[in-house]
Amino acid sequence: MKLKLALFAVMMFGLTVLTGCEPLTVLDPKGPMAERLASDIMLTMLMMAGIVIAVFAMLLFMLVKYRASNQPADYEPPHIEGNPWVEGILVGIPIIIVAILSVVSVQSNYIVESAPTGYEDKEPLVVYASSSDWKWHFSYPEEGIETVNYLYVPTDRPLEFRLYSHGPITSFWIPQLGGQKYAMNAHVTTLHLAADVEGEYMGRNANFSGEGFAENKFDVTAMSQEEFDEWVDEVKDTADPLTEKKFEELLEPGHLGRMTFTGTHLEFSPAPEHHEKGDKYKDGHEDKKKHDNHSASKKESSEKEHMNHNE
C-alpha cells in the first residue's frame, strides 16, 4: 500500500510538472473515492504509455529498416503468412493487460458503489440532489433544510447523495470528491462520496441539458462537523421556509444564485424512489414495489401518489 502511494505521489508529481503548476482537478483528489479513481487513472496511463511506446518503437524500426531506399533495387519481399509464436505473443500480452485491468476495474466498481472505505462505521449524511433547468436543489432531510446551487458538507463523514432530475437527464459531478452519476427523472440513483480535506470545490452538471447547461454548476464547501452543525442551526434560525408555491417557482427554467430554505421539497414533492429497496425515506406505498419496472403500473402509482398529496 505504501509502495502504491509512493508510486502515486511520483506519478502525480510528474504529471503536475508536465501540465504546468496546478494539478488537474481530477488528479487532485480530496476524498477517498476520488483518490481511488485518480490512482486507477494513473495506473492505466502508465500501462498504456508502455503499449504506446512499444508500438511506436516497432513501427519506427520497420519504417527505417525496410524503407525502399534502404534496399537493393532487385529486392523482392518474401511471402509471409504468419507465425504462431509471434501471433501468440501479440495476442497474449494484450490479453494479460486486459485481464489485469479487468480485475482492477471490477474492484473499483464495487468500491465506488459502496460506502467509502475508512468511514464504514460512521452514519452517512444523506443529501437529495435534484436538478431542474438549470439549477441544483440540495435537500438535507435529516437537518430539515434545503439549498439551491450550493452545498455544504462535513469532512470525515460519508456522504450519500440521492440523485434525480425534475427535467432532462443531468449528471452530478464533484471531480475532487469522486466521479459523476446521472440524475434522471422517475428514478433515483445513489452516489457515495466523502471529503477528507476542508475547502471549496467545483461541482457541476456534466451531462448536456440544454440552453443553460454551461452555467449549471454549484459550489461545494467541505468543513468540519462542528462548523457544519453551526451552519445548519444558523439556517434553521434565519432562512425562510420552502413552500410548495416557492418550489414551483424555483423549477421554472432559468438561472438562480445561491438560496437557502428551512424544510425540504421532499415533504410535498417526494423523490421518485419507489424503485429503491430498504430506503428509509420512502413514501409509504409498500405495494408499489411489486410493480417495479412495469411502466403501466408505474403510471398508476404515480397517479395514486399525486392523489395522496392532494388529500
Binding site: L37, I41, T44, M58, E76, N109, K181, N207, A214
Partner: protein, 644 residues
Amino acid sequence: MEFFERFAIPHPSIAIYASMVAAGLTLIAVLAGLTYFKKWGYLWREWITTVDHKRIGIMYLISALLMLFRGGVDAIMMRAQLAVPDNKLLDSQHYNEIFTTHGVVMILFMAMPFIIFFMNFVIPLQIGARDVAFPRLNALSFWLFFMGAMLFNISFMVGGSPDAGWTSYFPLADTDSVGTNYYMIAIQIAGIGTLMTGINFMTTILKMRAPGMTLMKMPMFTWSAFIANVIIVFAFPVLTVALAFGTMDQLFGTQFFTLDNGGMAMLWANLFWVWGHPEVYILILPAFGIYSEIISTFSKRNLYGYKSMVASMVLISVLSFVVWAHHFFTMGQGAMANSIFSITTMAIAVPTGVKIFNWILTLWKGKIEFTTPMLYSILFIPLFTLGGVTGVMLAMSAADYQYHNTMFLVAHFHNVIIPGVVFAMLAGLTYYWPKMFGFMLNERIGKWTAWLLSIGFLLAFMPMYVTGLDGQARRMYTYSESTGFGPMNMVSFVGAAIMAIGFVLIVYNIYYSVRYASRDISADPWDARTLEWATHTPVPHYNFAITPEVASSEAYWDYKKKNHELYKGDYEKIHMPNNSGIPFVMSCIFFGWGFSLIFSLWIPAIITTIGIFVCMTLRSFEKDHGHYVSVKEIEDTESELRGA
C-alpha cells in the same frame, strides 16, 4: 402555431442569414450553369438515373465531401467559440445547434457515405463482379441517403436545427421546436437507404464473387466491408425502431420517451447506443480494410496474418453489440453491470491490437514506399494507437465516472475517428483516384495535407485530454477565465485552423491535379495487388470483359508476378441492368414526405405517402429484364481502351 411561424428560425443569427444567402446563390448558379451548358439531359441520363455502381459511388463521394465541409465549418465555429473564455461569438442556442449538427453530419452524412462510396466503387471490381446484386436498389439507397442528408441540412434555414446533441437524449430532445422532427425523420430516410445498402452488399459479396474466390481468398477490404454490412443489417433496424418511436412521440403524442405516463427516457439511450456503438465499427472496419490494402501494396508484401485479420474482425463485430452500456456507466446500473460491460469493452482492445501488430508486421521485410496513401496509413498507426489506449482507459468503468461527458471523451473519440476513419478515407481517396478519374492527385500537395492534418489533429485534440481531466465538461458553450481552460482551448483552436488548411489543400489538390496532372497513366499506377486494378482505366461500365478466375486474395499480383491466368475464355455477351428514374423520383417524394411530417402538414404527407406506394407498385408491374452488351461492342470498347 401560425402556419408560417413554424418555418421561421427560432434563434436566427447573422451567420444563419448569410449562409441562407450563400446557399440560395449557389443553387441558382448550379441551375443556371446546367441550363447554360445544356447539361440537364446529360445529368439525367448519365448520373441521376444511373444504376452503375461506380457512378453511384462517385455520387456518394461528392455528397460525402460536401458534408465534410459542412461539418468542418461547424467544427471551426465551435473551436472559435471556445478559443477564449467568456466568448460572445455564438450564443448558447446557436452553439448547441452547431455541435448537434456537427455530430450528425459527420457520422451519418459524411463518414457513412464515404465508406459506402468505397464499398460501391471498389467491391464489385475487387471481387470481379459486373455490378452489385441489386443495382436499382443501390440507386434507391443512394438517393434516399442523399434526400435524407439534404432534408437534415435545410433544418438551419427552415424551422430550426436540432439542438439536443447528436445522441438526442430524451426528454431533452422532447421540445416544441421542429429540430427533433428533422433529426428523427431525416435520419430515418437516410437510414432506410443504408439498411438496403447493407443487404445489397452482403448479397453481392456472398453471391457474386469471381470463380475461385472462396471466402478466405477475398481481399481484405471486401472482408471488412462484408463484416460492416452484416453489422448494418443487425444494427440499423434498431435505429429505425428508435427513430419511429421518437417520431411518434413528437408527432402523434405517444409517450415512449416522455417524463410522464410510463415513458422511459433511458429507453431511447439504450436503443440509440445499441445501434450507435456498432455504428462506429461499421465505420472503422472498412477503414481498416482500406489500410490493409494500402499498407500491403506499398510494402510490396502480402498482408501479414490474413486469417487473424479476418478472425479479429469477426470478433470485433460480435463484441460491438455487447458493449453499448458503456455509454452510461454513470447511469447507476450497479457494480455488476458496469463490470460486465467494462470487461467486454476492454476485450475489444485485443482484436484491435492484433490488427495494429499485423499492419506493423506487414512492413516487416517489406520494401516500403512513402506515397501519400501510405503516409496517411503510417501516420494512422501511432495516432490511432493513442486513441485506442485512451479507449481502454475509458473502459475502466469506475474511472469513467471521472471521464464521462468531459472533453477527455471528446478527445478520445475524435482520436479514433479522425486517424481511423477520416485518414483512411483520404488515403483511399488518393489511392483510388486514378482508377476513378484516370489521373493521379499531386503527391507533393498530398503529403503536405497529410502532415498538416496530423499536426493540426494533435494540436486540436491532445489539449482536450488535459482539459477533460481538469473538469471541462463537453458541450459547454463557454467557460469563465477562472477555470483555467483558456490556454488549452486556444491551442485547440489553432490545431483546428491548421486542420482546416489541410482540408482546403485537398480541394486545391483536386483543382491542381485536374489542370496539370498527366493523363498518361497505366491502369495500375501503384503496382497494386488486387483485382480492381486488373481492369482498364476508365473502367468500362461492365467492369471486366471476361470474368476473371482467381486463386488467391492477391489475384492481380499473382497474375503479374507468377503468370497466373486471370482471363480464360472468349468474349461473350454481357447482361447489364437498365437505368431507371424511379429511384430518384421516389426519393424526391420521400423528401417531400419527410418535410411534410416534420412540419405536420398532413395533407401533403398523405399525398406523398400514396406517391411512395405508387412508385413501388409501378416497379412491381414493370417488365425490365435489362439489356445485353454485344460481343462487337465489347471488342470495340476493349480495343479502344487498350489503345488509350
